[in-house]
Structures are given as structure tokens and as C-alpha cells.
């Protein structure tokens, strides 16, 4: 690191005279290790708080307690998760997450663009902060809001007599509608910085070359935004896949979801060994999430050059 400050920055004379002092030797040599010191607490924290539970779960998922009370290795837990109701819940979660994440990604781009280009700074702030609150605080209040809107005793259900027309919130599509409510804000939040990063010069350059608005989007903006869209989609998939509070708070939910299955297997009064199946299901979830994120990393590395 070279300290080449232009003289204009240093206005006061005091600083100038102090600048004449020779650079203390050795300080630069000490820095690399000091740099790692800043990183180490984070790594240690992750290793303990993330690594330990995952290791414990992995160990539990491949063992079981036999009749004598000893712990033995088994593949029965994982086999159970790929069978019957457990497999159904796993597929249900994947289907719901993929669908809602895709829809939310498509819907959010025009929405985020409309917000970013808005002349009203107030609108932008209101929407972004509301998005932050919904996307993060979401879960339980969201379930309550939709239950009281479209649930069995909901306001709109009663007002329009939806129950007679066969409407039920506690179906796959009902849950999808609820999930979009926190996925769209999450995507808007993800896209806003990227849209802010689209330099006006790029649009001007495109216009100077007689590009139409569509051509600008097709050949300039969209390719630049693509990594963000992609990583946003993956983020949404992950959020939807791991969402539990919404489904748990929507009492009467008959949709098989893997998170609900894990929680009931862990907390419910079930047979011995059932909790280890829950751990195996948890490992399944981790594997799915890891696969998706791995795919995203590979794709993203190719294209994320412009916005950083």
C-alpha cells in the first residue's frame, strides 16, 4: 500500500510537517497477520455455531439407538426420508419453493425498476423499508394476515362468499400466494442496489448508438442484471424452502412441507428413532440447499463483472 496523497487534500500545515517523519519500518510487514486477525473471529464463530450443530445432525442422521440402548450406524433414517410421507413433504417443499421463487423473480424486476426510477424519494424509502420488514419479520404476522383475509373466517372469504366457491387458503396455491408476499419484497430488496448500479452512461451510450429501449434492456441492462436475478432467485428458493413459521402459524395447513415434518417429528411425542429421521430430513434439506447454491456460484462467477 503506497501512501500517495495529493497535496491538495492535506490542507493544514501541521499535517504537512508531520508528514516529513520517516515511515515507521516494520509496520507494513506486520499487517498481513493483523488482517487475518480480523477474519478469524468470524471463522471461529461459524465453525462452532454452524459446524457443531450440522456435525451433530449428520452424526444423528446415520445412527440409531438399538434395543440395548447403544448407538449403532444405520442407513434406515435416510431410507425413510425417501419414502412415503417424508418424500412427499420433500417434493412438496421443492415444488412450492421453485414455483414461488420463479414467479417472484419475474414480478419483482419491473416492480423494483419502477421504484428505483420513481421521482418520489419518499416512495422509494417507504417501499424499501416495508420490504425489509416484510421479508424479515414476515413469517407469523404474514400467516395471520392471510388467515384473517382469506382463511375460513377471513374478511374477504366472508364478504365474497369464497368458501362456497371452493376456495381454501390451506392448499398448495393458497400457500403459494402467501409465500409470494414475502418473496417479492425480498427480491425487490436484492434488485434495488443492482438497478442503482446501472450507470446512466450505459443507457446514453446505447442511445447514441441508436439502440431502442428494448435493445438497451436486451443487450446491456439484462445481461448485467442477470447474475443478480439468478442469485436473487436462489436466495428466494432458499427462503421459501426453509420457511417454517408461515406454514406453522397457518393452523390447519394440509400441505406436506419438509420443515413442518421435521418440527413435528422433533417436538411431537413420537416413537424413539423418529427424531433421527428428522435429523436425516434436515440433512436432506441441507443437501438440496447446498446444491442450489453451488449451481448459482458456478453461474455467477462467469458473469458478475460489471456491478462490483
Amino acid at each position: 500500500m503506497t501512501l500517495t496523497a495529493p497535496g491538495a487534500v492535506v490542507a493544514d500545515a501541521g499535517a504537512k510537517t508531520r508528514r516529513q517523519e520517516p515511515q515507521a519500518p516494520g509496520r507494513r510487514a506486520a499487517r498481513p497477520s493483523a488482517g487475518w486477525l480480523g477474519v478469524i473471529p468470524l471463522l471461529a464463530f461459524a465453525a462452532v455455531v454452524l459446524g457443531l450443530p450440522v456435525a451433530a445432525m449428520a452424526a444423528g442422521s446415520i445412527t440409531t439407538t438399538n434395543d440395548a440402548g447403544g448407538t449403532v450406524f444405520t442407513d434406515a433414517n435416510f431410507a425413510a426420508t425417501f419414502d412415503g410421507p417424508y418424500l412427499e413433504s420433500l417434493m412438496g417443499s421443492i415444488r412450492l419453493s421453485a414455483l414461488t421463487a420463479f414467479v417472484a423473480t419475474m414480478v419483482s424486476l419491473p416492480l423494483a425498476y419502477a421504484i428505483v426510477t420513481s421521482r418520489f424519494r419518499g416512495l422509494r424509502e417507504a417501499v424499501l423499508s416495508a420490504s425489509g420488514v416484510i421479508a424479515n419479520f414476515g413469517g407469523v404476522p404474514l400467516a395471520f394476515a392471510f388467515v384473517s383475509t382469506l382463511g375460513n373466517a377471513g374478511v374477504l372469504t366472508g364478504f365474497f362468499g369464497l368458501a362456497d366457491k371452493g376456495w381454501s387458503l390451506y392448499t398448495f396455491w393458497g400457500l403459494a400466494i402467501v409465500y409470494l408476499y414475502f418473496l417479492v419484497p425480498l427480491m425487490v430488496l436484492t434488485l434495488t442496489p443492482a438497478l442503482d448500479g446501472l450507470k446512466p452512461q450505459w443507457r446514453e451510450a446505447a442511445q447514441n448508438n441508436r439502440a431502442t429501449g428494448f435493445q438497451y434492456w436486451r443487450h446491456v441492462a439484462f445481461p448485467i442484471l442477470f447474475p443478480t436475478l439468478l442469485s436473487g432467485f436462489v436466495l428466494l428458493f432458499g427462503s421459501a424452502f426453509s420457511a417454517y413459521a408461515t406454514a406453522a402459524a397457518m393452523v390447519g395447513s394440509s400441505i406436506p412441507l419438509v420443515t413442518v415434518k421435521i418440527a413435528s417429528a422433533l417436538t411431537g411425542d413420537v416413537l424413539v428413532g423418529q427424531s433421527n429421521i428428522a435429523l436425516a430430513l434436515g440433512m436432506d434439506m441441507i443437501i438440496v440447499a447446498a446444491l442450489v447454491i453451488g449451481i448459482q456460484l458456478v453461474l455467477q462467477r462467469r458473469t458478475s463483472r460489471w456491478l462490483s
Binding site: A5, V39, L42, E125, Y244
Partner: protein, 287 residues
């Protein structure tokens, strides 16, 4: 030093009539979709949903008299504060170190910060439950037992702070990275250092003020996350705010919806106020 604040805000300012129309088309359905459930929930809490019921504000007056609410809310806010401190304490040194002195650690830090995304909250809860069970299974006569027990004090469950901080990492990392990307950390530091600012002054008067938006956002999103967190706390058997509202939803449906809506809208208003405060302060400094 405050003059080093980089310009921010929307760069695209273009309002052709068709653009305005497009904006309306994009925003109008979204406004309906996002407002209707909130309005209906509010209508539900005052009893407008059920024709047999007389509209009243009972659900809201009950907020102040119901047992357990103040307790769970207090616990949750305490946890949120501790979580924010922990997240900043872990992330800021790491991110600055990566930018200034250890660029080779960048990929590692990114991976570690995004790793919690791979572990869904329910799975994390299941894993933590398993670890905590070790206390009674194997560690009964070792120092591990009091350690694990001390993590689970109902008055202040440290284990939840650890779990929340882990779950907040990806979001905090992305927000802070975006904030750091928007400013030239290295140039700012070099400029400040060449003005003979100490590392302390450089950090607190140059870097952090430039990151104010990102820091505030991270802090409040973390609070929102902690207020809404359900899975881990429910699996571990604690009863912070979100778990409490679900627990009472069976017997006090209107009250639980009312409390949730107050929490949701209240958090949003606080976030808005903070954004406004931050902005007026920034404009005062730059003028």
C-alpha cells in the same frame, strides 16, 4: 472527513410519459396485493370480518393487559440488541480486513457468510437441539454441562443470540458488502491515513459514517428478523415474541393478529424514521 461521503441515491431520473404509465401498470397490482391483506387483518382485529360480532377495539386494549406480552417482547428486544452487537463485532473487522490487508480471504469470508443459507432454520434448530442434548447424555459430569446449561437460561438464552447472529450473517454480509462496494474503502483509508488520521479516527470518522445507511439497514433488518424468528426458538422451547403470538392465537385470535400487525407496522415506521433521520443528518453534513 464527512465531506468524503460518496454521493448516493437513484441515478436514473427519466420521466417520459410512457415510463410513468409503465410504472403505474407495474405498481398498481402490487399495491393492491400488498395492502389488502394488511387492511383485512386490521378489519379482522376490530371485528369487521364477522357479521355476528360488534366492531370494537377490545383486541387493542387487551394488548396492555394481557400477561406474557411485555415479557416476551422485552426478551426479544434484548436478544435483538445482543445479536446486532455480535453481528457487527464479527463482520466489520472481517470485511475491512479483507478489503485492506487480506484480499486473499475474500472468497473464504464470502462463503462462510453465505453458508448459513445452506442450513434452513428448522435444520439449524434440529442440530442445536441435538448438541444441547449432549449436555444430559454424555457431558453430565464435565465442565461442558454447566456451559451448555448456561447457554439456555430462560431469562437470557445466549444460544438464541448465537443462532440469530448466524442466521443474520448472509443478510448482514450482503448489505454491508453493498455498502462497502459503493465506497472506495482503500482510497478513503489511504486518504485519511495520509492525513495522519489514526486507525481509530479512520474507522469511526471516515469508514463508518460512509457506511451509515448500510449499518442502519443491517441493524434494523436484524431486529425485524429477531422479532419475527419462530423456527429455532420454537424448536428449542423458548417463547419470544413470535412464538408467543402463535401460542395465544388459538385462544385469542383477534389479539394475536392485532399484536402482530402492531409489531409489523411499528417496525416499519421505526425503519422509516431511521431512514429519514439518517438522511437529514447526511444532508446537514454535506451542506
Amino acid at each position: 472527513m464527512a465531506l468524503l461521503t460518496a454521493p448516493r441515491g437513484p441515478r436514473v431520473r427519466r420521466t417520459a410519459p410512457e415510463a410513468r404509465l409503465g410504472r403505474t401498470i407495474a405498481l398498481a397490482p402490487a399495491v393492491v396485493y400488498f395492502l389488502v391483506p394488511l387492511l383485512c387483518a386490521l378489519a379482522f382485529t376490530v371485528g369487521l370480518g364477522d357479521p355476528r360480532q360488534k366492531p370494537s377495539l377490545d383486541a387493542y386494549t387487551a394488548i396492555f393487559t394481557t400477561d406474557g406480552l411485555a415479557q416476551s417482547l422485552g426478551l426479544t428486544l434484548l436478544l435483538a440488541g445482543a445479536t446486532i452487537i455480535l453481528v457487527f463485532g464479527l463482520l466489520l473487522p472481517a470485511l475491512l480486513a479483507v478489503r485492506l490487508v487480506a484480499p486473499r480471504a475474500k472468497a473464504l469470508v464470502a462463503v462462510v457468510c453465505m453458508l448459513p443459507l445452506v442450513v434452513p432454520a428448522v435444520a439449524l434448530g434440529a442440530g442445536i437441539t441435538t448438541v444441547l442434548r449432549w449436555a444430559t447424555d454424555w457431558l453430565y459430569d464435565t465442565p461442558g454441562f454447566p456451559l451448555l446449561a448456561s447457554l439456555q437460561q430462560p431469562a437470557f438464552p445466549v444460544i438464541l443470540v448465537l443462532a440469530y447472529a448466524l442466521m443474520a450473517l448472509p443478510l448482514a454480509y450482503t448489505t454491508l458488502e453493498a455498502g462497502l462496494n459503493a465506497i472506495e474503502v482503500k482510497v478513503l483509508v489511504e486518504a485519511a491515513r495520509s492525513c495522519r488520521a489514526s486507525w481509530f479516527r479512520t474507522l469511526f470518522l471516515v469508514i463508518l459514517p460512509n457506511l451509515r445507511d448500510a449499518l442502519l439497514n443491517t441493524a434494523f433488518l436484524t431486529i425485524a428478523m429477531v422479532l419475527g424468528e419462530y423456527a429455532v426458538s420454537a424448536l428449542l422451547g423458548f417463547q419470544p415474541f413470535a412464538v408467543w403470538t402463535v401460542a395465544i392465537s388459538g385462544s385469542h385470535a383477534q389479539l394475536s393478529v392485532a399484536v402482530s400487525m402492531v409489531g409489523l407496522i411499528g417496525t416499519w415506521l421505526i425503519l422509516l424514521a431511521v431512514a429519514k433521520l439518517g438522511r437529514s443528518k447526511a444532508s446537514k453534513e454535506t451542506s
